[in-house]
């Protein structure tokens, strides 16, 4: 019965992706912890953390695809939600350090002692509790997205203008978080974490558990996205993407639909950031860098927007490429990334997964035409994305 419920909300491709993610959530830690280091199947801890980091990027990409691929909202500021989730987690990790900091203050993090602060700012209270911090990981990005979206969507800001203000949003936060008196560690950000939920953050077991948590959250995000997209709400979103004003004339409050998916997406991005921070060991204002948000757009474009799974592939591939190139040929990475984006835009408008999709559609179409019948029914997510057109 549960399987039946599951498959009414997820298609075959989504089901496979979820199964794979759950499998690696178990297998990668097992391989890292149980196999001897000499075994060819042993995955070293540094690699576990590296792939874990890629999967947090993949989670960000899935969140971005939800709004861009399915609702046509091109966010150039999703890195801001990612970073805010990261800061919420970072604040928890800072408070876990306790008296083990350099200045050994039992309450104040080192940077506050250094700045001669006498007490904890009000917004740092509660972050010693993991569950409070976990709540903030989704609430803070969610609330910001809700407020921002409420203003933007109600006044019908769309297209390039919306993209520009999302970029401005992340840039404004970048400048704010650089300031020492904001109380988030300024330029240096938050780092030197010791433990999470009582476990040493450097330990192999902790790293493996963080990896498993990331893979499972990514699987959950695939499920939630599929659930949304396959519901009637998802059909409304695709309708908004393709012909927004037509949707209004059918009686839909387009702004509320956008606000819903935008807020959900920001929360997903926040969770991605929260999983990222303990695995890389630092969060600083550079995470708000506008370029980060643009890179996330490239991952989605490369993998295939409007496909849910494509962005995961895109994020992992591009970041493997980045890790390799920045080590081997550091000077050409940015050119390679730019070239990749141009190639994808020109030749692979539907991304890697779209290429596979259109190849399958073509085969099916040929088969159908042989039988002299209808063009094949195709699921909405496999279809070309017509440029947004205003209904006259």
């Amino acid at each position: 019965m549960i399987t039946q419920w599951f498959f009414t909300h997820v298609d075959r491709r989504g089901g496979i992706a979820i199964a794979l993610l759950v499998a690696i959530a178990f297998l990668v830690p097992l391989s890292n912890l149980l196999l001897p280091e000499t075994s060819p199947l042993h995955i070293p801890t540094y690699l576990v953390s590296l792939i874990g980091k890629y999967l947090t990027y993949a989670l960000l990409a899935v969140a971005l695809d939800l709004v861009w691929g399915f609702c046509g909202i091109l966010s150039l500021g999703h890195g801001a939600f990612f970073a805010l989730g990261g800061y919420a987690m970072g604040m928890y990790l800072m408070r876990q350090i306790g008296p083990r900091g350099v200045y050994a203050d039992p309450v104040l993090p080192d940077f506050m002692v250094f700045l001669n602060w006498k007490e904890l700012p009000w917004f740092w209270h509660g972050f010693d509790n993991f569950w409070f911090a976990a709540l903030m990981v989704v609430l803070v990005p969610g609330a910001l997205a809700f407020g921002f979206g409420w203003l933007a969507f109600r006044s019908r800001v769309t297209g390039v203008y919306l993209s520009i203000i999302t970029q401005a949003l992340t840039y404004a936060l970048l400048l704010a978080f650089f300031r020492n008196d904001m109380g988030f560690g300024g330029n240096n950000g938050l780092t030197d974490f010791k433990d999470i939920l009582g476990f040493n953050i450097q330990a192999g077991t902790t790293r493996s558990m963080l990896f498993a948590a990331t893979a499972l959250f990514l699987a959950l995000a695939v499920f939630v996205s599929s659930f949304i997209i396959r519901s009637k709400l998802g059909k409304v979103l695709v309708g908004v993407r393709d012909a927004e004003s037509r949707m209004r004339f059918l009686g839909y409050r387009v702004d509320r639909y956008k606000l819903f998916v935008w807020t959900i997406s920001a929360m997903m991005a926040g969770i991605a950031g929260a999983l990222y921070v303990p695995q890389v060991g630092i969060i600083n204002p550079s995470e708000f860098e506008p370029a980060n948000s643009i890179e996330a757009v490239i991952w989605v474009a490369v993998g295939g927007r409007g496909t849910i799974i494509g962005p995961i592939i895109g994020a992992v591939l591009v970041n493997f490429g980045k890790t390799y190139f920045t080590a081997a040929f550091p000077e050409i990475w940015l050119f390679a990334l730019g070239a990749l984006f141009i190639i994808v835009t020109l030749f692979l408008p539907k991304g890697i997964l779209g290429l596979y999709g259109s190849w399958r559609t073509k085969l099916a179409d040929r088969a159908a035409r042989k039988k002299d019948s209808a063009p094949p029914p195709v699921a909405a997510e496999n279809v070309h994305l017509p440029e947004p057109q205003a209904a006259e």
């Binding site: 037509r246 009686g251 909405a380 057109q389 006259e392």
Partner: protein, 248 residues
């Protein structure tokens, strides 16, 4: 005349775009259950009039009332749609990456909130209504087709089907037979006459054969106001109508 007891009431409506008066002191009244054909040269303001009725464009002056009491100038597109005014666009606008059936599902009257849409399950009643409409618009064999793959005429029909699914009191239909074959045009006239038995319809159309087949009162617009109104024969014998429109 008073707005009471009318379905649609426009009085002294004007709207300008950058100083150009697209609608100029326009008055028009539609009774409940009536079908009306609107003719007039390109740029007469026919589409703009529909924009005003459906809340897309706010008039600079004048009254627009629905059902004798609802001031349409105070509502936006979604609210007006929910009041029971459906619209078919001049350029067929269906959702191309959705199937024919999903286009109808989206249009089907019912709750419109995001929450209800997220957990929506199709009821037997809804399935039946979709079945009926697919049959009416002669697309029952193509329910799983992507709307993008339909012919131009079929898209027009799908859009009419979406209107029916909305179950409006008043249908605004902008140039429904543009680009249709003669056979399709005749079928469409039949379909609209059928629809007009149970609701009010405002049709904009250039095709005089089509307008004749509708066999209803005709209003001719010119430069944003009414030039002549009456039976088709009466209007088409009007000297000014011949000058600005028919005689060209």
């Amino acid at each position: 005349m008073k707005a009471q007891d009318t379905l649609l009431y426009l009085d002294g409506v004007s709207v300008s775009f950058d100083g150009f008066r697209a609608i100029n002191n326009l008055s028009l009244v539609l009774q409940a259950g009536e079908m009306r054909a609107i003719i007039g040269p390109n740029g007469a303001g026919k589409t703009t009039m529909m924009d005003i009725i459906t809340g897309k464009t706010k008039p600079d002056a004048g009254d627009v009332y629905f059902n004798g009491e609802v001031d349409l100038t105070r509502h936006d597109e979604a609210e007006i749609a929910l009041l029971g005014i459906g619209r078919k666009f001049q350029k067929p606008t269906v959702f191309e990456s959705h199937t024919v059936e999903d286009n109808l599902v989206l249009a089907l009257s019912g709750p419109r909130s995001a929450f209800s849409a997220l957990f929506h399950k199709q009821s037997a009643n809804e399935a039946e209504r979709i079945e009926d409409i697919l049959y009416t618009i002669r697309l029952n064999g193509k329910r799983d087709w992507l709307a993008a793959n339909l012919s131009h005429g079929q898209k027009q029909w799908l859009e009419i089907g979406m209107l029916l699914a909305q179950d409006p009191k008043l249908l605004l239909v902008d140039e429904p037979v543009a680009g249709m074959t003669d056979a399709e045009t005749a079928e469409t006239a039949k379909l609209l006459r059928e629809i007009a038995k149970t609701r009010s319809v405002l049709v904009v159309e250039h095709d005089m054969h089509f307008v004749r087949e509708l066999d209803v009162k005709v209003t001719c617009l010119h430069e944003g106001s009414v030039l002549a109104e009456g039976s088709l024969d009466f209007v088409s014998n009007d000297q000014r109508v011949i000058e600005v429109y028919l005689g060209r």
